[in-house]
Symmetry: C2
Subunit: 354 residues, 2 copies
Amino acid sequence: METFPKKPAKPRAEKTRVGAVTLRDVARVANVSVATASRALTGTGLASAETQKRLIQVAADLGYRPNTFARGLKTKSSKLIGLAIHNLENASFRVLAEVVQTRMRALGYEVILSITSDDPGQERSTLATLADHSIDGLIVVPTGANGPQLLGLENAGIPVVCVVRRDEGALLESVLAADPEGAYAGTRHLLALGHRRIGLIVGREDTTSGKERLAGYLRALHEAGLPVDRALIHHGRYVPETGVTAANALLALKEPPTALFVANHESSLGVLRVVSERGISVPDDLSLLCYEDTPWFEWQRPALSVVDSGASEMANLVVDRLMQRIGGAANGGREYRVGVRLIERASCRALEGR
Amino acid sequence: METFPKKPAKPRAEKTRVGAVTLRDVARVANVSVATASRALTGTGLASAETQKRLIQVAADLGYRPNTFARGLKTKSSKLIGLAIHNLENASFRVLAEVVQTRMRALGYEVILSITSDDPGQERSTLATLADHSIDGLIVVPTGANGPQLLGLENAGIPVVCVVRRDEGALLESVLAADPEGAYAGTRHLLALGHRRIGLIVGREDTTSGKERLAGYLRALHEAGLPVDRALIHHGRYVPETGVTAANALLALKEPPTALFVANHESSLGVLRVVSERGISVPDDLSLLCYEDTPWFEWQRPALSVVDSGASEMANLVVDRLMQRIGGAANGGREYRVGVRLIERASCRALEGR
DNA sequence: CTGTTAGCGCTTTCAT
DNA sequence: ATGAAAGCGCTAACAG
């Protein structure tokens, strides 16, 4: 743990604002017991409509703010939820963070952000820390290596919902993209346009998304009665460099593809660079279809067609699920899939003479 | 506040893990009083080196995790810090979030993320909520409209450090980019390349950054003895659309600029689109210099030259400053500036016959 | 419907 | 160096 020099704590404003008004103060002013004040203010328990109104008024006048610690000590609830994601650069993760935080705030919760870098070690330690803070729930893009810890949280009474990825080792509620259908739909689109040699750039086969997207691609090909040319399929890590390597390999083929399905979101940048450097014109020389929408796909010229995996829909659904769980719903271990949507822009064209 | 249906709370694992081990348990097993256990474990107060070692062992064996609420109730410290930023889409803000969260975790703090959308109302309410959670410190990109509230936090003993933007209405410690120098350096670069008509796309004049960057641009021009053509300067909000409007206006000029300085980060996308649509070749027909680096500037072809405003350096510095403040340093109301860095890539060329 | 009371788990005087 | 005990501010029985 990084350390930091601790100055000899100069006299500074006390952390407890002097005279921070407590429930006792409110009760005293209103001439009731703290218990009544508590009931009136929390709305729980029974309090005469009149006293309630009066207490709320007094509390407001005094500028009363309940102490989170004291309340949490009793209720075990922190009104904090954890959000553990790989990074903020991937468009889906970024949207996830934005939507989750916005909605959670509206629901009276704050979110503790934790970036795991897809590293099991970091995920493990962050899980422990979040538990220490008594989060009321956790939304996590699991690395897949900490199923037991995730289940541990559940057993400790902290609802966990996975999103985007699933932890194969734990029966957890999960909100995922419809990756098999997405890749299928994208491939079908290209097929319908007359393309027969379709290059696929996709995540590694040891990731669920990599596997599922490949499956969708293959299914579309099979249904079309087309042979599978393994040389057209390139697996790689979720980084731009993958796009460079893959695009270069694919375009150097004796019989290069007429269309590229970039189903590895992060690779898009790399692919675009290669295409530009090789002087290839999109969509005239090559059709390009990406996966997971991001604002700049639309600003790009030509605007990039995309299979949108519905990041914000997933985010909203995962919030809904978590709230249900916090509200008492049992962990069904159920899996939810958000459908994809094909957004046609200008990077794919129909092949001549099809 | 968004509401949510509350199911009748089915019997679910208790929130308090059954038998969560408390300090009392540790003390009992180690045959000491809770007081001694507390002292030994926190390292504070005096405890014989031996008992301390033993307690730490016992605590580990029992899987003891201190209760954050109980501790906070006494210490007034939550080990939580707030991060209030406009959005996660802007490259600088995103980097800020990543760096702050990573470093803070290493320092033993978690960060509560709050997105304000640059909206004073949201900022105000989030400030109150963060205070309720007894954050130990706040890093904020201020909207500028809530100086009093920010000062209020300070008075309540919660150190506040501003970053990227400054709140003109409050004397708060701030970590900023060296915007005047940045715009000056960028303009000088273009000038040195022989450009005489340099278009400037910049933030609105009622924002500090807009003002400061314009000033830097003007200074460079003056020093070069060049007249200022107001038609070459375009102010606008921090959105891609601004780039479209501005670029179109600038390029439609009778005597169009030979270089464009896009000192409004968000506008870059829009400018790029216009340039592409107009069939303008960069840097042959037009030199392009952007502000605030972002990964895709480097992947773009031609790679975009940029005045990097040092987002990650600002993030690191703001964390350092906040830690000093939490450690007891007084609010100097001091302003720190992180120097910019010109990164030459391939989007600017020297003008013939200069 | 309201008041009294007993803690939640921890840190911190104050004794010893 | 250690223990006993007093709360931190709040909620939740339990009486009334």
